[in-house]
Point group: C2
Chain length 504, copies 2
Amino acid sequence: VEDEVLSLPGWDGSLPSRHYSGFVRSPESLRDASFFYYLVESEGQPDTDPLVVWMNGGPGASSLYGLFGELGPLQLDSDSLLVDPPALYYNPEGWQTQANLLAIDQPPPTGFSYCGGDVGGDMASCGNWTDEDAALENYKFLLEWVHEFPEFESRDLFITGESYAGVYVPLLADLIYEGMRGGETSLNLRGVAIGDGVARPSPKDSQWLHVQFMYGHGQVSTRLYEAILDTCTEAALRNNSYASMPGCPELLETMDTAIGDFYEYNLYDQCAHGAAALLGSLDSVASATVLRGGLNDYACGSDEAIATWVSRPDVQAAMHVPRGAVWNNVDGSWPEYKATASDLSSVYLKWMAGSAALRVLIYSGDTDPMITSFYSEEWVRALGFPEREPWRAWVFEHAGAELTGGYVTRFLTANAADGGAFDLLTIRGSGHMVPLMQRSAALSFFSTWIHGETYPRTGQGKHANKAPSIPAGALKGALASRSRVLNRKLELLRGLTAAAATED
Amino acid sequence: VEDEVLSLPGWDGSLPSRHYSGFVRSPESLRDASFFYYLVESEGQPDTDPLVVWMNGGPGASSLYGLFGELGPLQLDSDSLLVDPPALYYNPEGWQTQANLLAIDQPPPTGFSYCGGDVGGDMASCGNWTDEDAALENYKFLLEWVHEFPEFESRDLFITGESYAGVYVPLLADLIYEGMRGGETSLNLRGVAIGDGVARPSPKDSQWLHVQFMYGHGQVSTRLYEAILDTCTEAALRNNSYASMPGCPELLETMDTAIGDFYEYNLYDQCAHGAAALLGSLDSVASATVLRGGLNDYACGSDEAIATWVSRPDVQAAMHVPRGAVWNNVDGSWPEYKATASDLSSVYLKWMAGSAALRVLIYSGDTDPMITSFYSEEWVRALGFPEREPWRAWVFEHAGAELTGGYVTRFLTANAADGGAFDLLTIRGSGHMVPLMQRSAALSFFSTWIHGETYPRTGQGKHANKAPSIPAGALKGALASRSRVLNRKLELLRGLTAAAATED
């Protein structure tokens, strides 16, 4: 196919599997929209492994962020920018080890998608959006995309995404679900997974959960917490009537001032987002003379590195992006987008009451202050399904040891007899972007879920999950990238050594 | 002095400052105890900077763990073991940048300390201990030590430590305090700092705080938490009478089973403690082809690396440890040690009521499940001091950005007019071993405290704290260590590359 990506600047040699990217325009598009997609074939069994659609949120966030910064085979971070072209590094814990991944820039003009012929358009160039409009465009795009990739048309299909994709995913999936029931498509939807997702309008309005999260994590004093409970009351914090409680708004303001700054996507993050000093300066190399080997860290600077990398003409050419294209990537600040969906619960209730073997997974990083695990638990419980398996630890293997990934609660639904499932899962120590912030844990639960297996329990032994390995084809590229960055660091160290010698 | 450490295996060239180590035996020792000490002179102004005594806890933990794994200038971690001798790496965020550090192995036979002539003794070789015995021996040791290092005798003195040192530190400090009042010593005690410390017997008995910590951090379901509150009641969980509440013990057991495994010293830790696979295998190098640049990580494997390193005859010889010595390092599992101190509050109340300008700092990592920040806040508030400055964020500079280090509450005490202070401080995202797990934050609050300055507030600008720099003398050693490890990693990568080529 002419859309095949044959090489990518920053990666030495052949790609670990076949990649395709380019544009698909639905003839039925409401606004002459051209969707940008990027397909990574599975590194396992591409001919039989499922097709997983991935969508970042926003509204307005490009799914290339997810693919190159969270869950794909080739990743970028601040170290990538130490060399030119920026180094892509291989991610043996990417989801491409289990599935074919289709990242969609939606709705247009998010990412490289666009409307009409306006490849250089701004966020207004497609007009206004509602949640329902966006879902309909996504559905039409997907029908057209499988027309061009017919080998995936009846493949097991999973729709996944994070954050505002908590709206995108079920609305698109429901159009597919209804389309399948009506016989208008041979798409084969098997499940839906949403990470740290929005489930109803304005989740941040819930002051109760904000207070619980902040106090629970030790960011508020017990003294102030107790004063807030006394003055504001749990009931008023829950039903958002606290503004009328005398003294309560002042206490909440005192609390938020005292809390100070934190990274809204991960309470414990210290990546110093936006700090240019991190990127390749001698200072950063000098401080890197302190070795760090913690395994609960993750790559910093993927935002900046991806933005730099995808702005390169050679990268755009490799991805079949036309000259003059603009990569629009806004996160929630998009005036033309109107959040209109009010009741997503009804979609889940309908699916789970039927006989379709749909599997729903709601997963949540438990250190995400934006969409907290308390929030996810609360809306899932409000659906009213009884417990099939109560809250328990799930485990994964890392470096030969069994670690607790977080907690899972499985609910009993009418479609369970037919293979359906509704699972609530948390990831210990993860912020909003779970596949980036806890790579091993994320691959583990994703692999378990997509294969319809049982989340391993504490004590099931360290081989509860398959450890990923680097495919032979990718190994050389991975080693070359790593060597290039290490050599550059050694070069910088030699410079510092020479400078130190001069000072003597 | 004959105790000077002139070089250390694993560190290239001269040491960053003068180090001394060896043994001091008090002529008045109750049990003919020889104390092992390690002194690191300040890299700032060694002749005028304060003397900081550091003690690890246990009982039975060697303070070499703190010095070479947490806060000293030269550190070890799992990467250290990739080369032979193990690489010591330079820690520009060590406390030696601000103070002279004296690490003490106490009480004997902890670490390299011993009783009589029994350098190869086990933990029983000094007989039984009480908290008061240990404090008295520590005091006698310190009087003798300053006799051998008279330049420190009247230097500003701070006694610090973590965990069980929450008992050691105030008991020793109080003997010094009384000794100063009685004119029997010219030691010049200025303050006391305790990290994640025990403050009363059996802190883990407080089921209430355990439940609060686990639920607050998202490790327990809201459903189970609410059942526990209903069945057990807060009052019974607080006063430890919950065992008699019908159904309560069963719910707590359900909770602990559901929680599963976690690292008791840091909830989010994924160092896979005890996993040999981490140490230098090809597997670990292969997985390290995934670059990691997170700044909230920390060095894994310091326990194993330190134990390996200090067991080497060449390291022991460099530290003036006699042949045949045994390094005893047990953490809390020491039958001969009896916890006998019952009321540490009275010591603090006495100090703060007087006119001595003593500064007390109780600091706590807020992700430590062992001694939680809730626990520290609770016992400090129970002292009854009014607030001088309520709970607020404190900040530090890292990589050019201002980050929130945690929260500080300052209490008003009678001695405040004379320069005394009592501060409660938390460290966001730190487990039990704060100077290891949040190096930048730890150096920042330590430096602020020891200089009697004001903890910087949110918005005070990114230069609120001095960024550490590497002294010229240490730079070459630091670069050499780092280069040695990077070169070894490149060598391993070349081996993998050759193996991959062979497979073609």
